[in-house]
């Protein structure tokens, strides 16, 4: 089973990288772009087929290491 963890900066937390990407897109001529936010995607292979157990395990990983709750949100996808 594969877990995909999306980590993104919380709303309101300054994202200078997202801002720089937005500026670069505008300078390339792309129009109609609102705010750009940059995040991370972490893929983890999980052994076994128990989805609930995997969800709980990845949740714990997020809380302990993968995301910093002070500045980041995360979502978990299992497939």
């Amino acid at each position: 089973m594969k877990a995909r963890v999306h980590v993104s900066l919380k709303t309101g937390v300054l994202d200078p990288q997202g801002k720089a990407i937005g500026n670069a897109l505008a300078s390339l001529g792309f129009t109609g772009i609102g705010e750009v936010r940059q995040g991370k995607l972490i893929e983890i292979e999980i052994e076994g087929s128990d989805k609930a157990a995997a969800q709980a395990k990845v949740e714990k990983m997020c809380q302990e290491l993968l995301a910093n709750p002070v500045i980041e949100n995360y979502t978990i996808e299992l497939e």
Partner: protein, 229 residues
């Protein structure tokens, strides 16, 4: 005063801080590897600057979970003072020993130059070598030093006198230009609840020798030594 300096893979300012500590205390600090699980007896623990674990995931995130940090936390809980400089500050926030987090500088650039700091309180074992309100010139060298915390945490830090240093102008005024990295409320260094853990982004250890351009950092190390003797 005997210090222990923790080295993580990627630390690079340990020699600088050891030199500053030796100059102030007359004793060579013990060097402790991050993979160790035991700390020697120490009056002060220092987490030096650098790029521990290559700043993977988030600055300080990996180092915060390295084996020695369990012991560092245990000693800190018993009252042993801990000083985290630059990457060391990032490690302390990631380890939950100080509140808030350090984001990318607002300009997105790595800034390596001298800046001015205002000493916000001399009522700590780390800052007792300075006067409250004194402006000192100290170098910074970081890409992620933009301090952030929620407004309630910032209010608490200010209300409890736990802001140790703020970025300022040469005259000690809080200006937008002086706050080069965009830190919330110009914060450059903070203390924990018991005022025994200090994290700061600038490098006082690099201005303790006139040959290297200044001695404004000496007060921090002299202050620590006098407070611990």
């Amino acid at each position: 005063m005997k210090a222990a300096v923790i080295i993580f893979p990627g630390s690079n300012r340990e020699r600088d801080v050891c030199t500053a500590l030796k100059r102030a205390s007359g004793k060579d600090p013990a060097i402790v590897w991050h993979g160790d699980t035991e700390l020697p007896a120490a009056d002060l623990i220092v987490l030096p600057g650098g790029f521990a674990y290559g700043d993977y995931l988030r600055c300080g995130a990996m180092a915060a979970h390295s084996p020695i940090m369990r012991e560092v936390k245990a000693r800190a809980a018993k009252g042993t003072p801990v000083l985290g400089i630059c990457n060391g500050f990032q490690v302390l926030t990631e380890a939950g020993m100080l509140p808030g987090a350090l984001l990318a500088n607002r300009t997105l650039s790595f800034v390596c130059r001298d800046v001015y700091l205002r000493v916000e309180t001399s009522q700590t074992m780390f800052t007792c070598g300075y006067e409250t309100g004194q402006a000192i010139r100290v170098p910074v060298a970081h890409g992620e030093g933009n301090y952030t915390a929620d407004p309630a945490t910032l209010d608490r830090l200010e209300g409890e006198g736990r802001v140790a240093f703020r970025y300022c102008s040469a005259e000690g005024e809080l200006t937008d230009e002086g706050n080069f990295n965009g830190s919330a409320r110009s914060i450059a260094g903070i203390l924990n609840e018991t005022r025994t853990v200090l994290g700061m982004m600038p490098h006082p250890e690099n201005v303790t020798d006139p040959l290297l351009g200044g001695t404004d950092g000496q007060g921090l190390f002299d202050g620590i030594v006098s407070a611990l003797q």
